[in-house]
């Protein structure tokens, strides 16, 4: 009914510990080494937050692992935005580490990444404002005790960083209740004739998927309360291959798939195909291509490879072969059967066919496309 209370299960037993627990030693070392001015209620200075995300080595020798691999500029803008009391909106196609970045930002800034509102089509207004404990309400009438605060409300009163996931999935009327919070920094409770004023240090990090813009597009009034940072897809093929192979390995382990000995070549090929079609230009930058309608994100590349591994393990000889990934690629690329098929055929005939060492892949793709 109302939003269930966020119980921060902190402990070593958790399947996936929160960022502030997993990297507690790094945060501690940073706080110790950080002598720069900190905004009110920030655990670290903006500089130290940026270092926490981007990685580095502290004077005392503590190595800070990079949490986000990408342009420094983006992280700086994101951190600065939080320092200017403007809300931060992280945009990006799926699989660009938006949630990851927002969690670590909250952990570094407020030391707590659990004040989270998960945006869905069914997110009620209570999740953003407050709900009521009806037993209390009926027994004692409206009072502060009967009020169930939302994560946002608690962040306001404690001067913490709140997170909103998938902001564009939240219905428009619920989104609207954010406007007052973000501009007036206050949350009126008309039932009690009170209001909760945000304490300094309060801010909001929202994430949204910019491919699904149409779901519940932000109103311009809400939009202008946010500074927007677009998280890009990996910049270089090597970085992307790295990300894909690492994730595939993790996924493979959890699915108990046997590790493919020679998967790297095929992973590189999948990443190349995805990048080329996504960018609309071949890797050598010499031929332009049409782009299909799908996203072709890193996350999809990961699923194509994982799928290929499963095929290879259960139906093949355990080696990741071109034929294992061909069907997956076709499925990822050809989303619109008419237009995308032409794109794919062109790509096959003009790029794949000519490429050295891709003969087997070409044949495999021809087979599944036929």
């Amino acid at each position: 009914m109302t939003v269930s209370e966020t119980t921060a299960t902190v402990g070593v037993q958790a399947l996936r510990p929160h960022a502030e627990d997993a990297f507690a030693h790094e945060l501690k070392a940073l706080a110790a080494a950080d002598d720069r001015p900190r905004p009110a209620r920030w655990k670290l200075s903006p500089w130290a937050v940026a270092t926490y995300l981007l990685g580095g080595t502290l004077p005392d020798g503590t190595v800070i692992t990079p949490k986000y691999v990408g342009p420094r500029r983006l992280v700086e803008v994101a951190v600065t935005t939080l320092a200017t009391d403007r809300a931060l909106l992280l945009l990006g196609v799926p699989g660009t580490a938006k949630t990851w970045v927002s969690e670590h930002l909250a952990a570094a800034v407020s030391g707590d990444s659990t004040l989270l509102v998960q945006g869905t089509a069914g997110t009620p207004e209570e999740a953003v404002r407050y709900g009521w404990n009806y037993a209390q309400l009926l027994a004692h009438g409206p009072s502060r005790d009967a009020l169930v605060p939302s994560p946002l409300m608690r962040a306001m009163s404690d001067g913490m960083t709140a997170r909103i996931e998938e902001l564009t999935r939240i219905p428009a009327d619920v989104q609207d209740s954010l406007i007052t919070i973000l501009s007036e920094k206050t949350l009126p409770v008309p039932e009690l004739g009170q209001e909760v004023q945000a304490v300094r240090g309060f801010n909001v990090i929202a994430t949204a998927n910019d491919r699904d813009r149409g779901v519940n597009e932000l109103s311009s009034a809400l939009r202008r309360r946010f500074n927007t940072v677009v998280l890009p897809l990996p910049a270089t093929p090597d970085a992307e291959v790295d990300i894909v192979s690492r994730r595939v390995e993790q996924l493979g382990r959890s699915l108990d798939l046997p590790a493919a000995p020679d998967g790297m070549a095929e992973i590189r090929r999948v990443v190349t195909v995805f990048r080329e079609l996504r960018d609309g230009v071949t890797a050598d930058g010499r031929t332009k291509l049409k782009s299909p309608s799908g996203t072709l994100s890193t996350a999809e590349a990961i699923s194509v490879v994982t799928n290929g591994l499963a095929l290879a393990a259960h139906f093949g000889d355990g080696m990741l072969r071109p034929g294992d990934v061909a069907a997956g690629i076709l499925g990822a690329v050809v989303r619109d059967p008419a237009a995308d098929r032409v794109v794919w055929q062109e790509y096959l005939e003009t790029v794949v066919r000519e490429r050295d060492g891709w003969k087997d892949f070409y044949r495999a793709c021809r087979e599944v496309s036929a």
Binding site: E76, V77, R86, N227, T228, K288, K290, A338, A339, Q345
Partner: protein, 819 residues
């Protein structure tokens, strides 16, 4: 007039070329010191042009252009923007009536040295007079050091531009410096330290240049005493203060090569000041610098307001609140990055995050319109003429092609060298949009070695030449540059193909690769197969024409081949669901592509085509054939296209006659709507004049048509009649008559019943009457035997069937060639 007390010696103002902060500082220093004369780094030949700088019609950005008189292609530019310290110094001197002179090495020498070196002119990371347009790539030899980069690195900056901005350009905004000369002294000190370590820093020509500057400085010192100000690159300051002897300097300058050089002012633009175009001046953001220089105060606030204005004009919603937030974010970002003042990087990041909603698309607009800027310079009419005009005049003289106001016709025979050169010149001018000559339809018709032109020289053409002069200094280089730019900005595929053709006509080999790239890109992105198909025939023609002109068309061939591949992939889906008009167009395209692919693959034999290796040519041909087969077999493809594809295959011998008959039978079977069937017939036998001959010679097909036509229900006949009339009325009278006679003779001549059976003894051979007229056959038999070299086997029936078949095959040949 009281002057501030000043140290002895000339006032040396070391600047960063095109640095707005430097420009402000120079103005402040000049105001404070009030020197009697101002010396500026630049070619002394331009001294005579300096007064023009104060002209009303002169608006920066402008550039001093020096070019060798005998070879206008060898040129150097000294661009000056409003925020260039040199420009500020020149204007200050002209306003205050102080003599102003250029003291750098004369352009006559530097051009000659460049020519001698065949190297990139020295690139002191500043206002390097960029040499020859053709010279590309970094200078050979040891990499010249960038003094600013070295200093920045020492200060722990990875970006020299940013360091300079922080330390020098933004200082003035931080607070007025007490002594306007102090920064120059500090900078000179730093440069001295640098030069102690790096010597000439990999700029070998600097020694000579600086020797010349010192000599000029001494000369000015004699004339005006110590009250002389010098504005030059900071790098040169230590050298100017160095205590060398006059004799040593003279010795350095001795025996320098020399060419006759001419100088003039030309209009310049911010876009060309930016690094990424031709004669870049090495600054990424002239618009931003111009803003910093012009803004009276609060540059970031004013900049954000400007950006907001631009975005609003482009219908983006940007409120004042956005501007406020952007300014705040930029300031905080600068603080986070430890910079004294928000620079371009911070403002841009803030604009992206606040005003552009994280998107780079509107930001590109800001980059293009504001950061680089669209400001165009202006030069008064009194400035001397542009080198392009000179080059044109020279060519007009050598080609004996006088500019005349009266219109006249010119016939050119391209086999003659002079005429070919004239044609090239006229074509190049057309590429440059200098409308001197218009090609006309000549008497010679379609011959490729003749051209007709209508020439008329209007006074406005001088202006057009001057405009085109921004593209280059010779007709060739300008046309090349223009063609490249047009290729980049072309919106349709057809435009680019036309441009490729023009490039070949105008013989612009250097532009061709650029155009080819654009063509390949455009073709790759063009989703409309119609556009691709429209472009291919022109390309194939161009390929052939290239052979005539002995141009290297390998690149063209590759593009054409790629285009053909794409068409093969995308054509079949595009041929479905068309209305009558669309189908008609598509049929024309199929024809065009078929011819073009014939030309492309035919080029193998001459060895000049894209498919020097045979298998690939066959591959393309095979793929095209496969496409045609697919078209013939698909019911959803428009009838006229299907018919046409069938016919093309039949003509090429890629479809057995039996199969053709089968396809026709299918297309004309009673289940097919008569309108579709009529369209099929139109595609199959319509169009080309030779279309009817097929029906004359293959009575089986005629029989099919006849049988279908007689089977059309009366109420539908009126519907198909116009289509049929259109098809058959295009035939020559003789063909029509023969067809008529064949039809009148009736289906006995070979109806559908005979289909597939072929001429067998007892039935009739197609095209011939029933039975054999023994007497008439007997009459020709002896001659026939003689011809065939037969001496025995008197059976006449043995020859009869082979006769017509052989004849039909012979007739087939020329038909195929016309298809």
């Amino acid at each position: 007039m009281t002057r501030a007390p000043r140290p002895a010696g000339p006032l040396l103002l070391g600047v960063r070329h095109h640095g707005p902060g430097s420009a402000r500082a120079v103005r402040a220093a000049l105001d404070a010191a009030r020197p009697r004369a101002v010396l500026v780094e630049g070619p002394p030949e331009a001294d005579a042009l300096l007064p023009l700088a104060a002209d009303e019609g002169m608006r920066p950005p402008v550039a001093l252009l020096a070019h060798a008189v005998d070879d206008p292609g060898q040129a150097a530019f000294w661009p000056l923007a409003a925020f260039s310290p040199e420009w500020v110094a020149i204007r200050w001197a002209l306003e205050h009536g102080a003599p102003v002179r250029f003291i750098d090495l004369p352009a006559a020498n530097s051009l000659a040295m460049t020519r001698a070196e065949e190297n990139e002119a020295d690139e002191d990371g500043e206002c390097a007079p960029d040499a020859d347009a053709d010279a590309e790539g970094p200078a050979a030899g040891p990499a010249p050091i960038d003094p600013v980069a070295v200093l920045a690195e020492a200060a722990g900056y990875d970006d020299p531009e940013r360091w300079w901005e922080d330390v020098v350009e933004h200082r003035a905004q931080g607070g007025e410096a007490v002594d306007p000369r102090a920064p120059f002294a500090a900078l000179a000190e730093a440069m001295t330290a640098l030069r102690e370590v790096y010597g000439d820093g990999g700029h070998p020509r600097d020694a000579v240049r600086e020797a010349h500057m010192r000599i000029q400085l001494r000369k000015a010192g004699k004339e005006f005493g110590d009250e002389v100000a010098v504005v030059c690159g900071a790098w040169h300051v230590p050298a100017l203060g160095a205590g060398t002897t006059l004799a040593a300097d003279r010795a350095l300058l001795k025996g320098l090569p020399k060419v006759k050089a001419e100088l003039t002012w030309v209009p310049w633009s911010h876009r060309r000041l930016a690094r990424h175009s031709g004669y870049g001046a090495g600054i990424d953001s002239p618009g931003w610098y111009g803003h910093l220089f012009d803004a009276a105060d609060r540059p970031v606030e004013r900049w954000m307001t400007k950006v907001a204005g631009l975005l609003r004009d482009e219908d983006r919603f940007v409120s004042s609140a956005h501007v406020i937030e952007a300014v705040r974010l930029a300031g905080t970002l600068a603080a986070l990055r430890g910079r004294p003042f928000p620079g371009l990087g911070e403002t841009t990041d803030a604009i992206r995050a606040v005003m552009c909603e994280g998107s780079d698309v509107p930001l590109a607009l800001v980059q293009d319109r504001l950061i680089v800027g669209e400001t165009l310079g202006q030069v008064p009419d009194t400035a001397p003429a542009v080198p392009l005009q000179r080059d044109l005049t020279r060519q007009q003289r050598t080609l004996r092609l006088k500019p005349e106001a009266q219109e006249r016709e010119l016939e050119l025979d391209l086999r003659k060298d002079n005429d070919a050169a004239r044609s090239r010149l006229l074509h190049r001018l057309r590429v440059l949009a200098v409308g001197w000559g218009e090609p006309t339809e000549g008497r010679a018709g379609t011959g490729t070695f003749r051209e007709s032109w209508r020439l008329r020289w209007e006074p406005e053409l001088y202006v057009q030449v001057a405009e085109a002069g921004t593209w280059g200094t010779t007709v060739l280089s300008a046309a090349t540059a223009r063609a490249g730019s047009r290729a980049a900005s072309a919106t349709t595929l057809a435009e680019v193909t036309a441009l490729a053709e023009q490039c070949l006509l105008a013989e612009l080999p250097d532009a061709l690769p650029v155009v080819m790239r654009a063509l390949a890109d455009r073709a790759a992105l063009d989703a409309d197969v119609g556009h691709l198909a429209d472009a291919l025939p022109a390309l194939a023609r161009t390929l052939r024409y290239g052979d005539v002109r002995s141009t290297d068309t390998a690149a063209l061939g590759e593009v054409a081949a790629g285009l053909a591949e794409r068409i093969c992939v995308a054509l079949p889906p595009a041929c479905t669901g068309l209305d009558a008009d669309g189908a008609g167009e598509m049929r024309g395209r199929v024809d065009g592509v078929h011819t073009a692919i014939g030309l492309l693959t035919g080029a193998v034999r001459s060895g000049a085509g894209p498919y020097a290796d045979g298998p690939d040519a066959d591959g393309l041909r095979e793929r095209w054939t496969a496409v045609l087969h697919r078209l013939t077999a698909r019911d959803t493809v428009a009838g006229v296209v299907r018919g046409r594809a069938t016919r093309l295959l039949l003509d090429d011998g890629r479809l057995a006659e039996d199969d053709a008959a089968r396809l026709m039978g299918l297309a004309l079977s009673p289940g097919t709507p008569p309108a579709d069937a009529a369209a099929w017939i139109e595609g199959f036998v319509g169009g080309a004049a030779g279309g009817g001959m097929l029906l004359v010679h293959d009575e089986r097909l005629l029989g099919l048509v006849d049988a279908w036509l007689t089977g059309v229900p009366a109420d539908l006949f009126a519907d198909v009649l116009p289509l049929l009339r259109r098809t058959f009325s295009a035939y020559e009278a003789g063909v029509r008559r023969t067809l008529g006679e064949l039809v009148r003779r009736g289906p006995a001549a070979g109806g559908p019943a005979a289909t597939g059976a072929g001429p067998a003894p007892g039935t009739t051979a197609s095209g011939f009457g029933p039975g054999l007229d023994e007497a008439r056959a007997g009459a020709v038999e002896p001659v026939l035997r003689l011809l065939l070299g037969l001496h025995n086997d008197p059976d006449p029936d043995g020859d009869a069937p082979s006769g017509p078949a052989g004849r039909a095959a012979n007739v087939e040949e020329p038909l195929g060639a016309t298809g």
